[in-house]
């Protein structure tokens, strides 16, 4: 380990404190929304989880690039763990988005919500990543295939987003005029805390999974030596 990294216990404590603070702010400090009332509070987590999921997928692609380009021996496992965490957070986006849709529009699923549809496409895409990875024997070929597929992901995200936008125009040629949310005061503070807390939590989980996966591999190597 050449790089100095924040120790895992420190990260765990930090994410515990941050997530608790965020929860406290979301439930007790942030004011009720004028239109949607109490339930609008899911927005704080929904949005920060979505941004975190994008960051995790980007991290996976970055590690994939490092594997293909620099032949970094650790990058393959790191890329895989990023995708794994990304899929977990992506699933959370689908769940929280679905709950929000039910509360706001009375339906569990809406094809008119760009964000939800995009995450559904990404969910399908990255689930196929696991199918691909686990039907190849561990080794350089598996690392290469996984890395190339993870790189496809970052190309697919903007292309799919554009496609979903375009698809809406096929039937309803109406341009959505999104009014900027009226951010200010405690709403902004609460959002910022949540937006910091969720990525820190994601990074902690990433490090935790990575260290346990590494331990697993070392253990298996040791067993092979002993056998």
């Amino acid at each position: 380990m050449a790089r100095t990294r924040i120790p895992l216990p420190v990260l765990a404590v930090a994410s515990l404190v941050l997530v608790t603070t965020a929860l406290a702010f979301v439930f007790f400090v942030a004011p009720n929304d004028a239109n949607q009332g109490f339930s609008q509070r899911i927005f704080y987590f929904h949005v920060s989880i979505a941004i975190t999921a994008y960051a995790l997928f980007a991290g996976a692609a970055w590690k994939a690039l490092r594997h293909l380009w620099k032949r970094d021996p650790r990058a393959d496992l790191e890329s895989y763990v990023f995708v794994h965490q990304g899929v977990i957070f992506g699933t959370l986006v689908l769940l929280t988005g679905s709950i929000w849709a039910k509360i706001s529009w009375g339906r569990w699923w809406l094809w008119s919500s760009d964000q939800l549809v995009l995450f559904l496409v990404l969910f399908l895409f990255y689930c196929a990543y696991f199918m691909l990875r686990f039907s190849v024997d561990p080794g350089p070929q598996r690392a290469n295939l996984s890395a190339v597929y993870a790189l496809f992901g970052v190309v697919l995200i903007p292309v799919s987003f554009a496609a979903i936008r375009l698809a809406k125009d096929i039937i309803h040629p109406v341009v959505f005029t999104l009014k900027g949310p009226q951010f200010g005061g405690w709403i902004l503070v609460t959002y910022c805390i949540a937006q910091v807390a969720v990525p820190v939590l994601a990074y902690t989980l990433y490090r935790l999974e990575l260290s346990s996966k590494r331990l697993d591999i070392r253990l298996r190597d040791l067993r092979e030596v002993l056998a």
């Binding site: 199918m131 691909l132 290469n144 295939l145 496609a163 979903i164 375009l166 125009d169």
Partner: protein, 212 residues
């Protein structure tokens, strides 16, 4: 110039193989005709042009999948992929040649499928033909690439549709949009952009798929 010659030789090999074995193209033709008949019964009454256009694209996508699934099968069965990788040519030439051969099969299947669609359902406009041409490029470029990935796995035939369909959603959006709206320029442009973007990505990264 060498690169073009390599691609030409590899494409000719695949076309010649198909001409002698007749494995893929008849299967694709039969499949697309059967799918149309299934659609007729799946949509009772007089389906609108909007509905049948969507179905046309489903049929094209699945027919393409059938062809793509076969693309690397001869290489696998005869264990010739190792030979191709060892050949003194750029690895991306293998992908380009395979894509061109698959494109030829898909285009041949569509030469029959589009008139058949017009006969069974609704007439086919110029914009749809343009969309078919552009979509074929993207389908074959991405599909061949993923086909090469899929043959390296144990799951093989099972995994190709799973890898391919999420990546094909933008193609479907562009193609359906171009087929049904009055001014298809935006959608055709989007398809062309998709083709260009993914062709570059596939071309640049194919090396890693076939080598260790």
């Amino acid at each position: 110039m060498n690169y073009v010659r390599d691609v030409g030789a590899l494409t000719r090999k695949d076309l010649l193989l198909e001409l002698r074995a007749r494995d893929t193209l008849p299967a694709m033709l039969l499949f697309v005709a059967a799918v149309f008949v299934v659609f007729h019964f799946a949509l009772p009454g007089e389906p609108s042009k909007l509905e049948t256009t969507g179905l046309l694209w489903v049929a094209i996508l699945f027919t393409a999948l059938l062809g793509l699934g076969r693309a690397f099968v001869p290489e696998r069965e005869q264990r010739t992929l190792d030979g191709l990788v060892l050949a003194p040519c750029d690895r991306s030439a293998i992908w380009l040649a395979k894509s061109l051969a698959t494109l030829a099969f898909l285009a041949a299947a569509e030469v029959v499928a589009l008139p058949l669609y017009a006969l069974f359902f609704h007439h086919v406009g110029g914009a749809t033909v343009a969309a078919v041409l552009l979509a074929d490029l993207g389908i074959c470029a991405v599909g061949t690439f993923l086909g090469a990935m899929a043959v390296a796995t144990r799951a093989r035939d099972l995994i190709l549709p799973l890898l391919f369909l999420p990546l094909a959603i933008p193609i479907v959006v562009g193609a359906v949009g171009a087929s049904v709206v009055h001014s298809p320029g935006r959608y055709l442009g989007f398809l062309a952009l998709y083709d260009l973007l993914f062709a570059v990505v596939c071309w640049a990264s194919f090396e890693f798929v076939v080598s260790e």
